[in-house]
């Protein structure tokens, strides 16, 4: 019988540690499929963040480095500057990238570092137990905003893709989602596009992916998908913010 679907060879057989309904697994798979399709597994270095995806290297069958909180873009810069022949991607959440690592991502983007950042935005700090992130929605309850995020006190959620797209240097900045097949197909295309630009040495590439965190949102996986569509996507609009000319 012909095999019509299989695990990408860039993924390992490790059992997932992610919670039920979490979309990290889908995003991991899309990256691994891309590495397979482009034939770059053997010259790729991933950089794991601090956060739920700190153990990402358990699932990818390629070289990996593990960063400190928010510093993945600096480490990726270090690798890519001394080994431009390696394909490098950072995999970062919103607490990691948009809060403590905001400086590193902005400057790496502005220098036009030739690596790819996959930015998983699920609006909370997952690993530490659901605290408020810079991307937490107004009135969203978290363990450090128990009455809901008060934007008078903490500001409005940061739209990272738009922020990076406002810089002149970075050329491919996009926001995608992975909550339903129609979104997943587009997200896959965007991730592959980002790696293709990197292979061609075109530009810094940034893919934000609106993700879910049923555990810390206090919702079921289905409720989480629904809430993402009704509440997150109108604010975090999907599509390309910037493409190379």
């Amino acid at each position: 019988m012909a095999k019509v679907f299989q695990k990408p060879k860039s993924m390992t057989d490790a059992h997932t540690h992610y919670c039920p309904g979490c979309t990290h697994g889908v995003i991991h798979r899309l990256i691994a499929e891309t590495l397979d399709e482009l034939g770059i597994q053997g010259r790729t270095v991933g950089i794991a963040p601090v956060g739920c995806a700190v153990l990402a290297y358990n699932y990818f069958d390629c070289d990996f480095q593990e960063a400190a909180h928010g510093r993945a873009p600096a480490m990726a810069t270090g690798i890519k500057r001394v080994r431009p022949d390696l394909m490098v991607f950072t995999y970062q959440g919103d607490g990691d990238l948009a809060s403590i690592g905001m400086g590193e991502i902005i400057h790496a983007a502005n220098r036009g570092e030739k690596f790819t950042t996959i930015f998983v935005n699920n609006t909370v700090y997952g690993m530490t137990g659901g605290q408020m992130a810079p991307t937490t929605m107004p009135n969203q309850r978290t363990t450090t905003s128990p009455s809901g995020r008060d934007v008078e006190n903490t500001g409005m959620p940061v739209k990272v893709a738009e922020l990076i797209a406002a810089l002149q240097t970075p050329a491919y900045v996009t926001r995608q989602a992975v909550i339903k097949p129609k979104y997943i197909r587009k997200a896959k295309k965007a991730i592959r596009q980002a790696f293709e630009y990197q292979m061609a040495g075109t530009c810094f590439t940034f893919v934000e992916i609106v993700s879910t965190c049923p555990t810390n949102w206090g919702k079921t996986p289905l409720e989480s998908i629904h809430w993402t569509e009704t509440d997150l996507l109108p604010y975090y609009q999907l599509g390309d913010c910037k493409t190379p000319e």
Binding site: G42, D61, D63, F64, Q65, I79, R83, G103, H107
Partner: protein, 359 residues
């Protein structure tokens, strides 16, 4: 090769290139910015890589990434900048990557000043960042020795897969002295394919390499820390460096001093000798590992009545001196920490005072 006159900071940059390190990430800070300025034009000349980072934090993680990819890499900074890099240094040590850091010390704490200091002895030798780790710490007292130590630092970092730090000070960095560079590279980079993220295809392997500092499972953190500990014990056996001055006499007092301060002490010892007072000096060239046995033996010499730690700080190395002398001789401290280096006359006066007090 003939001697040339060169500023300490620039000589340090050149020494790294001569040691085969063609990758530099850095961030400007007085009194060491000349290193970055020098390398910004020198690295392109040798097909090397120079990048000015957005912060010391970022520079130190660029170092981590590049080192973890198996390439020879270094950065330089001064005291407040090293504080910012200390986070990454802890990670680099934990993840067992070779990298070289240079601290051209200025006065602290806080912004402190921009003049020479040795106020980062604790930071360099006892930690700086979090967790159980040590740096291999070398302290030059001249431009020539800075060059030699920088060139030695890279193979040492690779031998131990551990960060090495050169602890200079603002005077070493800013001073011009004649210097001679060895013509040849000290060493070829070591084999890194068994641990670094060099890319599986490039090393003909199907086994990924992972560089990390998180050890959650079972006893793995204990094991990693024991592995680090074993390296530090090996350093204590194999890497201690020190110099002596006037120690072949029956000195009545022993000075322990390093870096810039040791040069002033040398002059003071000559002045004391002219007056018929013999004082010896041990100059640690490695601060970690500390030359414990050498200091101890020199201190316990029957003629020696007192040991004085001379520092450009408010008394940091003196704690190590006290530790190894084990109360068998009185240990005193003398130092300044405001940026002005002591004069030989001040040291002569202090040594006369302590010798008189401990006769």
């Amino acid at each position: 090769m003939a001697k040339i006159l060169m500023k300490g900071n620039e000589a340090i940059g050149e020494a790294a290139i001569r040691a085969g390190c063609l990758n530099y990430f850095g961030y400007p800070i007085t009194p060491q910015s000349e290193i970055a300025e020098y390398l910004s034009h020198r690295m392109p000349e040798v097909n090397g890589m120079f990048l000015q980072a957005e912060s010391e934090v970022a520079a130190s993680y660029m170092i981590f990434g590049a080192a973890a990819a198996g390439e020879r890499v270094f950065t330089t900074s001064s005291s407040p900048g090293i504080s910012l890099m200390s986070e990454a240094i802890s990670y680099v040590a934990a993840a067992q990557c070779p990298a070289v850091f240079v601290n051209i010390m200025r006065g602290g704490p806080g912004l402190g000043g921009i003049l020479p200091s040795q106020g980062d002895y604790f930071q360099a030798t006892k930690g700086g960042g979090h967790g159980d780790y040590h740096l291999l710490v070398m302290a030059p007292n001249s431009v020539q020795e800075s060059v030699e130590m920088v060139m030695r630092a890279f193979p040492l970092a690779e031998k131990y897969r551990n960060p090495v730090i050169i602890l200079g000070d603002g005077l070493i960095g800013q001073m011009m002295e004649p210097v001679e560079f060895p013509d040849h590279l000290i060493s070829e980079p070591s084999d890194k394919n068994d641990w670094a993220t060099t890319g599986m295809d490039y090393r003909n392997s199907n086994k990924p390499n992972l560089v990390k500092s998180l050890f959650l499972v079972g006893n793995s953190l204990e094991e990693n820390n024991r592995c680090l500990k074993a390296k530090y014990e090996q350093m204590k056996k194999e890497e201690i460096m020190f110099a002596t001055y006037n120690c072949d006499t029956n000195y009545v007092a022993l000075i322990v001093s390093y870096g810039t301060m040791s040069r002033v002490c040398r002059t003071a010892i000559d002045l004391l000798k002219n007056e018929g007072i013999e004082v010896g000096m041990i100059r640690p060239q490695t601060l970690f590992p500390f030359p414990e046995k050498a200091v101890q033996e020199a201190a316990w010499k029957p003629s020696c009545k007192v040991v004085t730690s001379m520092e450009l700080s408010m008394g940091q190395m003196v704690e190590d001196v006290e530790r190894v002398v084990q109360a068998k001789r009185p240990v005193t401290w003398f130092g300044v920490a405001g940026g002005i280096v002591s004069t030989p006359e001040e040291i002569v006066a202090e040594m006369k005072r302590v010798i008189h007090a401990h006769q």
